[in-house]
Subunit: 378 residues, 4 copies
């Protein structure tokens, strides 16, 4: 027909729609290294726990450090609003599902107490862990110096959609280059999903970007406002920006795919898509050590007028160590993420995370396991 | 293979298959304006309630006006067939599902009483509201002057499929240019789904077009006769016609996507597809103020020989104010449509509806939420 | 990647994946004609009942004639194997589902009695109806003259896959050009699904081709042997052959899409795909007049070693007249096929079946009606 | 948009997404031959039973030989770890589902006893059958000579992903050309999925390759590590390598598609994709003669730290003879695989397996049989 259309639409892909192609050379998983950097900070594994109150408490951040990863504390969450956040957690956990959104809306309307930010940072630092805390753009300028002052090693500036140029009447748009200059610690900014925004953010001098808008199931941003880009395509775009920026400037910015993960396989796919690291919430909320004790809820959920998502029961699946390193007897890909990553690296002949960036990927809709398949493969 | 085929088929898309890409600049939702025009009439919000008897009564049209939108009264529905339509509504609502189609077929075989058309228009005008009434093409020439005489501000001419050139033995095809000249109020015509028909209708001088054939679930036009175009592609085509027509003539015709909406996100997607406004039925039938009291049925449903659709129980979900403006604790996108639109505009850096036309959209199949996803994003 | 592949794969489409685009001109359904020809035989409606024993008995063929269509009798089915087929039908209908395949295998192992073929043809002719009977290629040469001798007006030669050049040790491949010469009545041959085979069959002088391999749900040919082409693509190919053949020779061969229909909308889509007529089984097995009394089974089902399909309970949905012409209160597209076709023709501005060939069609995956859509369209 | 992406993604296809197009000539199934070769070994049917302990015991290998096919014994499975593997099988079969993965992990941690390898080979040879045994790459160099010494006719070297160049610290990568030289029996290697790896493996002198990574439902390799290629695309690539290699060298390497099969139709599709043979596990585990007595589990399942898959109950469906040759009254494609293959060959006009390679295939999503389709085709 050659129809005249107002605009063209390109196809985007999510984790469920792709698969990694094995490489031409294979290596033993023992030979692989999963090291990753954010600015001057190095980590043994490219896995972060996201700033969700049900997943990361100061204590959990310490556990993540012990495991070689990084747990980001939400500096605007319960831990900065309540002297005793644990009793509030208890109330959230025990609230009936009916009405829990209203309850979250109420709990999160309590003001942030700036002195608590410093206190939580110190708790993390005192445990010997690397400390990363997250702020929304509105509060970053005022509150992030408090966190750095208290010893924070990494500042994360995060909202559902973040750009280098935000327009507002109520506050002056955050200027990232000024922030970088003043803080003198690595800054991670997000979330974004396109080449152009990733490039502009990198040019402002930040050290890492968070990739992902509306990819998750519990987050209903895409349902409620229609905005979102599936994670494989979002990562492919931001990684293209990182490569171009690196070629031009010699500075390597860490790309962190944030959200939408279901299995260890998805983590591998994010990295093949170009991510240097991944950030997950619910899998860590499922750890025995998690503060949410089997429950999780997102930062956009308690929005007072347009909540997106709710508290979900995610269950407790094992220790943090099992989730990251196994051994496991679960066969659904939800444990031993590092083991899975190393096996995938072996199958693709990748010694390092950046080697894994070179692996091929195909579009291959996920396997239906409706019980009617009778073939078991090896 | 390069197979020889009788004709080529292009891919079309619906709301569920696309997602909006955040913009390069973001703005605070408070800075956005959702104003929209149809001819000389301006509205605060680009949202109309469709001419379905279960959704729009004269009283409901008044409520829509108070909320900044427009409710269209079906001038060939119960309100123009019965002196006391409310008792008939009562009967429809309480009819057993088994047999309700036959009952609707019978109720709508009662003749239209022309004096009731004027009476309903006056009821709406007396409430202070803008009055829009809809007719089928067959009755427009004879009945629409009655409505305008009584004070109607906008005439809607609507059938399942409308073209500028309809052939009939039983009545002379409606000539829209003659209608425009005689009525002297804005005229909205529909439904159409292609560039060519939209262009021909615009050239006849009309002020707005309704976009959508067979998109909804309760409407079974596509099942029964196989005809239909998904709303994103239909809107992309009609918006392309509007742009070309505007460039050529300087006259801007309002494109209204009608039907197939499921969430606030779908409304945002329709506008990114090029719509200036949207028209919805069931979400308004779900308002506490709606005459259908939790039930709705379409205009094509009671067709005496080939009914398409039936009465469906849609439930009551909240007040009209909550549905349009929140606040809400629902997280499924079915309330606070205006809030959702303003958030999407903010994420895309759009100050106005026409700015939002410039946002990008991608093809991204809807997220499966079968409970097997464990990641909650922010 | 530009992967090297052993062969290229093209996309094919079924009814569920396409939708008809309304035309630039619309006409009133009363102005449309649904006439259709096979050789010298003209029919009021382009709808045939297929040669399935649960659908077409001699009596049912007579009813189809009265309705303006054509019912094809299976000349190798129960009616030609049993003096009293009705008691056998009774047994099939009342057999328990468990074991019914074995029972069908047994019932159809009874030999065909040639004298019964003539008897059934005469029953149909005596009712005043046009008589069409079907044979498999193996038996056509020997048995079809018996049917013509008895008065048959149309011979159908049908197997799962038929080509102009079949190789066999046990019988000489049927030569269609010789068959045409000897029979002197219109011959319909099938089934085929590609341009090349359709063209070769047309060149042999036949009057109609049946299109469709493995499209239906009850037929498991595609499951069992992996062979099949969805009906829209199959019809698009065979119709392209018909057009090319017509342009070259001036002879118009009737293309009949056979099987895979679910609704009246599917019938409309087959014709927009280029079919001149459609052939259906189960919808007619659902008629009150059908010999299967709510059950149906296919010709490939009772294969003694590799059965494909089984007896299915299809229910009784109404009279043949209601199924073809309504009026109906069903809103799912399974009744009033002719009404639906005329409405679609009206929406596409098609006065005749061949006009409807010119309508546009798009790829538009079928609407999900999982209850989560809240919009009812008109 | 012309988005900048880090890498391009191509579409890959599985069995469920394609269908075979009937040929221009058809032949009677009796005229077809299903013969197949691996090196100097010829087989009547191109069907192998895979080296899974629930499917192939020495006794089962003998049954497969009698049927014209080949059963591969896992030389590192229970039969080589336990003097009396049958009591262990009994324990696996009777273990509760809860905890069976741990139990498999434990059972398979028992060391391989080299003397048992020879013993099992002799059991198979003594029955008069062709003997094929499989090893993992780590153990092949040391253990495969023992098997050949004992009389093995074919050596299979198999791991989830195998390349010609594997890097390891703990053992020197297996050099296939050296292996071929030393063993002097045909060697089959796998699994691989790409043109490049297939080509490199062929160039090392091997006689057959196994195609398939992560295609099955019970295997969760794709879930757990994200790696996999659907079988149609994998086979299309490896077959392209075979053709190019054959054209260049005159040596024909057998391509064996391994895993992911659901029906006889899938077997036909693998061969149309270019496979010379297929290897299946579960369908044979479903035979009355199978050692797993209705249960099956994969070789990657008992991995001590990252298990992929588990024991699944597959049921017992009939004798091996019925599964391969029928006759059957099942209509779901899970019996009479050879009959199905011969029917497909007939429909495509293929006298031999290599003729069937020339058939066309299309992309045609699998038929939904949700009961809402009412058409039964023939």
């Amino acid at each position: 027909m050659g129809r005249r259309l107002f605009k063209e639409l390109e196809r985007a892909y999510g984790f469920d729609e792709v698969a990694i192609v094995p490489g031409q050379v294979t290596i033993n998983p023992e030979l692989t290294s999963t090291k990753m950097n954010v600015g001057n900070q190095e980590f043994e594994i490219p896995i972060m726990a996201s700033a969700m109150d049900g997943a990361v408490s100061p204590g959990f951040a310490s556990h993540m450090h012990d495991m070689g990863g990084l747990g980001v504390l939400n500096a605007e969450g319960l831990y900065s609003r309540y002297e005793d956040p644990y009793s509030i957690l208890e109330e959230i956990i025990s609230a009936p599902q009916e009405g829990v959104t209203e309850f979250l809306q109420k709990v999160y309307s309590e003001p942030i107490r700036e002195e608590l930010i410093g206190q939580r940072v110190r708790e993390i630092k005192n445990s010997g862990a690397t400390c990363a805390v997250s702020f929304t753009p509105q509060n970053t300028k005022r509150m992030s110096p408090i966190a750095v002052e208290a010893g924070a090693d990494i500042i994360v500036v995060q909202s559902t959609v973040t750009t280098a140029r935000h327009m507002s009447n109520s506050y002056r748009g955050l200027v990232f280059s000024e922030l970088i200059d003043s803080l003198k610690v690595p800054v991670i900014v997000g979330n974004c999903v396109t080449y152009e925004v990733a490039m502009e953010l990198m040019e402002s001098g930040i050290d890492g970007i968070l990739v992902g808008v509306g990819p998750g199931a519990a987050c209903t941003t895409r349902e409620v406002v229609g905005v979102g880009v599936p994670q494989v395509t979002a990562t492919l775009q931001c990684a293209a920006a990182r490569e171009d920026y690196f070629r031009r400037t010699g500075r390597y910015v860490t790309v962190i795919t944030d959200g939408g993960f279901r299995t260890g396989g998805d983590i591998c796919k994010a990295i093949v898509s170009g991510a240097d690291a991944v950030m997950l919430g619910t899998p860590f909320a499922q750890a025995e050590e998690a503060p949410g004790r089997g429950f999780n809820w997102g930062m956009a959920n308690p929005h007072p007028e347009l909540p997106r998502g709710t508290r979900i029961s995610v269950g407790t699946k094992g220790t943090l160590k099992q989730i990251l390193y196994g051994p496991t007897s679960r066969t659904d890909g939800t444990q031993n993420f590092v083991g899975a990553l190393k096996v995938a690296m072996g199958m693709c002949g990748a010694y390092t995370i950046r080697d894994l960036h070179k692996a091929e990927m195909i579009v291959a809709p996920s396997i239906k396991t409706e019980g009617k398949f009778f073939q078991m493969s090896r």
